[in-house]
């Protein structure tokens, strides 16, 4: 099993969710986050005083899938979330050692 963590632009969330469910993903976790990467921050002016916006709003997706699906899920996220402009986000893939469905006690791939 793999945990796929992706940061994407907030307005892309709905598109990515649709593409992933079409690809067979049956659950995901979504968090509103702020952060910076190579997009870094930008400056704005309020009442004549410049100020830096150091953290940019992003959406963090967490998806756990079977190892065989992982590459397809990563490709789907990358293809859907891409705008080609700086700040599109990143995808990380981690190994998952155990999963349990709370309602039934099913474990690992059965629990996904």
């Amino acid at each position: 099993m793999k945990l796929i963590i992706a940061t994407i632009k907030p307005f892309k969330l709905e598109e990515v969710r649709e593409a992933l469910t079409t690809a067979g993903v049956r659950g995901m976790m979504v968090t509103e986050i702020k952060g910076f990467g190579s997009q870094s921050g930008h400056t704005e002016i309020y009442r004549g005083a410049e100020y830096a916006v150091n953290f940019v709003p992003k959406i963090k997706l967490e998806v756990v899938v079977s190892a065989s699906m992982a590459d397809e899920v990563v490709a789907t996220i990358v293809n859907t979330a891409q705008t080609g402009k700086i700040g599109d986000g990143k995808v990380f893939v981690l190994d998952v050692t155990q999963a349990v469905r709370v309602r039934t006690g099913e474990t690992n791939e059965d629990a996904l």
Partner: protein
Amino acid sequence: MQKPLKLLAATAGLIALPTLGLAQEADTTPVNADIGFIFTTFMFLVTGFLVFFMAAGFAMLEAGLVRSKNVTMQLTKNMALFSLASLFYYILGYNLMYPGDAWSIDGILGAFSITSLEPVGLEGAEPDLTYASVGSDFFFQLMFCAATASIVSGALAERIKLWPFLAFVIVLTAVIYPIQASWKWGGGFLDAMGFQDFAGSTVVHSVGGWAALMGAIILGPRIGKYKDGRTVPMPGSNLALATLGTFILWMGWFGFNGGSQLYMDTAGNVSDISRIFANTNTAAAAGGVTALILTQLLYKKPDLTMILNGSLAGLVSITAEPLTPTLISSTLIGAVGGMIVVFAVPFLDKLKIDDVVGAVPVHLFAGIWGTIAVVFTNDAASLGTQLYSIVVVGVFVSVSSAVVWYILKLTTGIRVSEEDEINGLDMSELGMEAYPEFSKG
């Protein structure tokens, strides 16, 4: 209850029995000589409640421009200051400002007495039929006094203690404002010199501005506002409220300037009031447009808070003379006001004077400009007298305000503790928040 019943009976009689000639009924047709009195009184009441509504405008503007942790406190101060002004203006202010023939020092210091109204139904009274009722005049003038105090609260927001601020409001509305206002509007020495200030660019707005400026200097900037020579913006909590507040002030200004015509008893006066409405609106529009264009040019993006300040500065600028300018002159006068704001806001920040809502640029700087601008359209004004009056009022209000602020600072203290300021005045001084749903706890 008696009056409406009598009226009802008279009306019913007129409708039902028009031909019977009810000689026994009292004739309710106004006496010719009363008509001017009636219209002028009515005008004061209508324009008076327009100016009253400016209190709501100030409250919303300030609530929108402070951070959410200080909104309840800002609203509390606005409610309290208006109410205190209402009480102290009748207890002391009104007769100090309008002593009639009862000056304590001729042309300089008015009368020390409590305000009294005409008797009910004018029973036994001989009102001045060429003017308006005392009640309507008092009501109208009171609103100007309260507006002066409202100007101060915005500049000192987010760090001043509630009670010392209210103590200052009492001195301002009971003593400082009425004394300097008597010099012009009470027929004092500035009026005798020919000083022109139609609705109070100096008498109201600059006075509020000077008091606010002295307070802001003595109080010091908010924690973290100026760091390593840079200005740190502290964006307001709700620009929708700030915009609503500005439109309410704009509307109230029609009463502020229009009512200052002081008479609505002739076709000429009514026409003048209309002229004032149109000029006032034009100046506000020009101030807003100027700030819109200037912020776009200077900062690459328009700044709404500056546009709001710009339209208010346009209004302040036209207030000293809203009658004589043409629409084109009003446009220019208002536009310069808008320009003053865009440059004065960062200028005050350079001096490390923290004025949260831009009260000093809007009310003081644009007020001075408006007072000078009178000479362009009104032949009765002389530049020398206008400048002299600006300086006299400025020195009197600055010195007296500074003395009061210092006394308060040395006795009760005027600033909340560092921890209270960081936590926000809403929780530390009041224990309640304006937006509890959004709190982190």
